[in-house]
């Protein structure tokens, strides 16, 4: 979707303003927000793509005025409601009212180290041979789906070069909607700065994205 998250090339947000000696967390609630997000992710009820889509589906005014952990928590409330774990009246009350759905798994402290060390690999076998090879010229599609996609707007309809052929990976566009993993080959595609940004672009800039095969056409 053409949501507020798709930020590449946008202007007007001001300086980056890196903070000197930045702490890992700025408030205790941020610690809890990170922990709750990871612990509920371990339910196995939704995947990372549905989770990302919930965040980018926030209203733009909300998204741009929220800190990052606030974005995570707002999206998490949506996911918990959608999957029946928590209800709106419970969120309003701040306490359990209904039994709700039971998850496949609850993450216990003794399992945390193993779960984090395992992570969630997204590579998958793809039977078909890769359609493109390193050095091939490709053009990205210019589509504007309403659902989740990982092809950023600034790189749509642009011509670039396949720099690397990667493994097969779960396709976010279907996976986010519960329509299956439908894995595809992924490619690192590099673009000249001026292809992306016109004649005003930096002549010594190369930008790459990692693109699923169906985002690409031969050029």
């Amino acid at each position: 979707m053409n949501g507020p998250h798709d930020l590449g090339g946008q202007m007007g947000f001001g300086p980056v303003a890196p903070e000197t000696d930045e702490p890992v967390f700025h408030a205790d609630w941020e610690r809890r927000a990170l922990g709750i997000t990871l612990a509920t992710g371990a339910f196995g009820a939704w995947n990372i793509d549905e989770s990302r889509h919930a965040r980018e589906s926030l209203h733009p005014a909300t998204y741009y005025s929220a800190s990052y952990y606030e974005i995570w928590i707002r999206a998490l409330e949506t996911l918990l409601e959608r999957h029946g774990f928590v209800s709106a009246d419970e969120l309003a009350a701040g306490h359990k009212i209904w039994p709700g759905v039971k998850p496949k798994r609850v993450l216990h402290a003794s399992d945390v180290a193993a779960v984090l060390a395992r992570g969630g690999p997204c590579n998958r076998e793809v039977e078909a041979a890769p359609k493109f090879g390193a050095g091939d010229r490709v053009r990205t599609i210019n589509e504007h789906p309403h659902g989740h996609t990982r092809l950023p707007r600034y790189a749509r309809g642009k011509t670039g070069v396949i720099e690397s052929v990667r493994e097969g990976f779960v396709f976010p566009d279907t996976n986010a909607q519960g329509k299956g993993e439908a894995p595809q080959h992924v490619y690192t595609v590099s673009f000249d700065g001026r292809e992306l940004w016109g004649q005003g672009g930096d002549p010594a800039l190369t930008v790459s994205i990692d693109a699923w095969e169906s985002y690409l056409e031969p050029a």
Partner: protein, 222 residues
């Protein structure tokens, strides 16, 4: 959003959002859906155990060991795993090497993808709109904000992490470090130098706060 706005969201316990997160944790705990001790363990992991010291060790090893550097370039996931760094948000790693004519920069314009296993959780600026919007269109302007001004002819190579590959930059080894050990070299490798928004420290310039909350960094004293 403006800098003022951003600072406002560094939040404190009076923020109504703190109450909202507390309410959510209460509901989930009452329902038996989360184990508060598991939350504590997750926080402990990313606040005190997993951070840029990991990545610094990877870079220092690549500087002193050409075979490791070659492995890191060819199969970063396996090379990094050999040092014990595996798991969440580091499942599929790619190391990109700076060269005299090329400087690498990592960004995630769509969200906040970042190599947690080697750098820990990302800093606020990495996840915020100013960096995500400008890194791909005006990277030299972004680097200048970090005090890094590169020659115009130096190619800037920006890697937008749009899939599940996670990137780390391997900066060039600073000059005048011939006699330093791997552990000493690791102290020169800053977090920002592995994102691409900085360069490694020079010998003799080691100061506090070069990496991560130094007091919280178990590797800092070794």
């Amino acid at each position: 959003m403006s800098h003022d706005h951003h600072d406002h969201h560094h939040d404190n316990e009076l923020d109504p959002f703190a109450a909202r997160v507390k309410a959510l944790e209460t509901i989930l705990t009452e329902k038996g859906l989360i184990d508060p001790a598991a939350i504590d363990t997750i926080v402990e992991t990313y606040e005190h155990k997993v951070g840029p010291r990991n990545g610094a060790r990877v870079v220092a090893k690549a500087w002193v060991d050409p075979d490791f550097a070659e492995w890191l370039a060819r199969d970063a996931t396996a090379a990094i795993a050999s040092l014990g760094y595996t798991g969440r948000q580091g499942e599929h790693m790619q190391a990109v090497f700076n060269a005299p004519d090329t400087h690498n920069l990592i960004v995630c314009t769509l969200c906040s993808c970042y190599p947690w296993t080697v750098l820990g959780v990302p800093p606020v600026w990495y996840k915020a709109p100013p960096y995500r919007s400008q890194a791909v269109i005006n990277p030299r302007g972004v680097l200048a904000e970090f005090g890094l001004v590169l020659p115009e002819e130096t190619r800037i190579r920006v890697w937008d992490s749009t899939a599940e590959l996670r990137y780390m930059v391997v900066p060039m080894r600073p000059v005048e470090t011939e006699g330093l050990s791997e552990n000493e070299l690791a102290k020169l490798v800053t977090r920002d130098s592995m994102i691409g928004t900085g360069l490694p420290l020079r010998p003799g310039s080691l100061g506090p706060g070069a990496l991560w909350p130094p007091a919280a960094d178990p590797g800092a004293a070794t």
